[in-house]
């Protein structure tokens, strides 16, 4: 699913890619970086390849990847969403509230406890709604995406704290008497011995790849990111497309929040703080352009794995927290530098071919 087909837009001269080894290596750099990291860490830290650790890595990656997939849509349409970490936190807190305290109806002293499926659906719906509010302000009221989602970062985080007055919901396992057990399954359950979050990530990625490649909405996202005015003049409902991308991002953020809360078995208002930066980093590592119009879901997935393996491996190897942060930042910048390098190599190769012709 990750290779280019007719439907996508390979870079100039892609047909010549196999003629030159260095260029091929540059093109596959994200995959190579991933393989390199896996090999490196498995040599240095034998516990890296243990199934226990791999599950930890994959679970960590799943959250980054899910946030990154939503972010990819926003960035493809040349927007940015800084509120995803807060939306994840809000979603976790709403879930915690509905499971632990139930929905308290006003004026009557009754609390309604719903089935976990409904609880999750409510959290996802609220995340989507918050994303749509972002999109609505950005398109209708012309607030720039950076400012709007920065504001929402605070608003949603504050709302998450308001849910419990800042307290933590310590036990999300539910009670049999209230028929609301089973939430922990989402983060800790397994299907065919693979954790559920991994399945969710794979399913979401497949849907997202299909949407970006083969649907009208997906192609119009690329058009809006490439040249908004051209899209508008061609009859594309630009505002709807943009609101759609923020809604998707909000949905993905809420899903990530559910997974985190379920894995912890608890919800606290600080969940997923600053995860928006991880999400953006993952998208950039995956080769997307922050100017919009360029990027793939497959790239974002690889980016999530690179970041996840890197942070896990560094912990195992025993690199200090502070250095981990420095190295992560350096890797993100390096990714963009290498991307530019690839473009330059491609250009000079085509020049050389031109002279030989």
């Amino acid at each position: 699913m990750m290779t280019d087909s007719i439907g996508t837009t390979p870079r100039a001269g892609a047909s010549h890619s196999f003629r030159s080894l260095p260029l091929l290596l540059l093109r596959l750099r994200a995959y190579l970086a991933l393989i390199f990291l896996v090999v490196l860490f498995s040599l240095v830290a034998p516990s890296f390849l243990s199934s226990r650790n791999l599950v930890i890595v994959a679970e960590q990656v799943a959250v980054f990847a899910i946030l990154g997939i939503g972010m990819t849509f926003v960035i493809l349409a040349s927007g940015i969403d800084l509120s995803v970490g807060s939306i994840a936190g809000l979603s976790a807190m709403i879930t915690g509230y509905l499971i632990s305290e139930g929905l308290r109806l006003p004026f009557v002293d009754v609390a309604v406890f719903a089935h976990v499926v409904l609880v999750c659906a409510a959290a996802l719906a609220i995340g989507t709604l918050v994303g749509m509010i972002n999109g609505w302000f950005i398109t209708r009221l012309r607030v720039t995406p950076f400012i709007m989602t920065l504001g929402m970062l605070y608003v949603a985080r504050g709302a998450a704290q308001l849910v419990s007055d800042g307290a933590t919901y310590g036990d999300l396992s539910g009670q049999a008497a209230l028929n609301n057990e089973g939430f922990l399954l989402l983060g800790t359950g397994r299907l065919l011995s693979v954790p559920i979050p991994i399945w969710l990530m794979v399913a979401l990625a497949l849907v997202a790849i299909y949407v970006t490649r083969r649907t009208v909405f997906g192609r119009q996202v690329f058009a809006v990111g490439g040249n908004e005015r051209a899209a508008e003049l061609s009859g594309v409902r630009v505002n709807r497309i943009k609101i759609g991308t923020y809604a998707i991002s909000g949905f993905c953020a809420a899903l990530a929040g559910l997974i985190i809360a379920s894995r912890l078995g608890a919800a606290n208002p600080a969940i997923a703080t600053s995860y928006e930066l991880n999400a953006i980093a993952v998208v950039v590592l995956g080769g997307a352009s922050l100017f919009g119009g360029v990027g793939t879901i497959g790239g974002t997935l690889v980016g999530a794995f690179v970041l996840g393996v890197l942070s896990n491996g560094m912990v195992l190897v025993g690199i200090s927290d502070f250095w981990q942060t420095v190295i992560t930042g350096a890797v993100i910048v390096l990714a963009v530098v290498v991307d530019q390098l690839q473009r330059r190599v491609e250009k000079s190769m085509s020049e050389r071919r031109a002279r030989q012709a």
């Binding site: 649907t215 009208v216 192609r219 119009q220 690329f222 040249n227 899209a231 085509s350 002279r355």
Partner: protein, 525 residues
Amino acid sequence: MTAPAERCRDDDPRIVLSARAIRKAYPGTVALKGVDFDIHHAKVNVLIGENGAGKSTLMKILAGIEQPTSGTLHYRGEALHLAHPREAIKRGIGIVHQELNLCANLNVAENMFIGKELKGPVGTVRLDRQRRIATEVLTRMGQRINVDALVQELSIGERQIVEIAKVLVSEVDVLILDEPTSSLSKAEVGVLFSLIEELKRQGVSIVYISHRLEELIEIGDTFTVLRDGNLAGTGTAGEVTVDWLVTRMIGAQMEGPLRDGRAAATFADRPVALRVEGLEASGVNGGLALKRLSFSIKRGEIVGFYGLMGAGRTELFETLIGLRRALAGTIEIEGQRLPLDGTIAERIRAGIALVPEDRQKLGLVPNRSVADNLLLANLERYAGITGLRSGRMRRDVSRCIDELMIKVSDPDVLVSTLSGGNQQKAVLGKNLLTEPRILLLDEPTRGIDIKARRELFEVIDRLAESGLTILYASSDLGEIIGGADRVLVMSQGRITADLQREELTEARLVASSQVQRRDTRKESA
């Protein structure tokens, strides 16, 4: 002007779309002051007027991009309200804009179907079918553009063709072409005209806007002239001549060459300003854009570069300014050899300045004032101990505005509010403040009207008299013949003719611009 009684009635079946008493007021200006316009069925309806006459505004209203302040539209006898471009598209009203509106990150086929994607079951896009139709449309247009190529790899001329093709993939009833030929060369204009004839036969009604008058006479069936937002006249083919159009456009006769050329003897004992030997540079698609190019130009000469789209004129200018790296050859300015890997800043210091073809994208900072734009390339010169010296800056700006006859009430007005011709002069002024010795102008009159063009050439003439060497590229024969002292014709990255002014004829220029086309095709095959 025709009397109202004679005018076709709204229910006349020969009128597809009619606009009545259209008024459009913007804050501060009135673009249209009650204009009537009829689009005749299966005819080429020419709309003409100087910049700012209101043509583009009227077309935007017909295409649903702008809404009139007052006035009515009737489509086949029924009242029509267009609140959004989508509604116009749905009724088969297609517009090809003067400015290019494509997504550079998508390929040609995808661009042609933006907003009207072919849907399969459950919202999927039928990409293969889109590709096939896109290929068919381009083939019908006689173009060999690869539908899988990204638009960012195409030249401006090719993009213009894609822009037209984009409208043709869906059923069009009314096709509005807003200056479609401003960046096409003669051969491509021919292709476009035969396409227009074909569309007419199929019953498509065409609205055609252009500044090239001969072209309009050749293609037009009915003519509508706008002046300052008013209707200045209507006529039909046969009774309309170039003079008739010009008189109504500006209210005065204007003819003859753009400037008086100077004979070769004038330059005999002048020093060589620019010498290029064996210059090579690569193109976007991997081929060589420039193939062992050599020429030399004397100081103060005005040299026109003529050629078809893709002949390499833009690439030559970009290589000279250092935007595109030369692979081989030498560039000498007044005997001094420039390093081939020099930066743009070094080339500017060496005395070269470029006024690019796409002035809105490459030449101006639209959200800054005229003064800021003029000073942009040359701020170092005004740096003093206490910051920028505003007195000197103001003096230079007002001198520049006077010399170039830029029409602006106040230098602090946003540059984007100027007309096309005045914007072009602002780009020119910005480059002149760097005190260049060699000025490169790429399609300097793209999208500007006759009066502004004439003024521009007056300015060019004066600059050349003061010792500036000027190279300009143009696809407009009249501008090449009437404006240059000497013309270098390019074809396929080579120079195929070097003609003095007195040797210039349309036939010779066109013939030399076609040279070697066949050879190169063989090479690439």
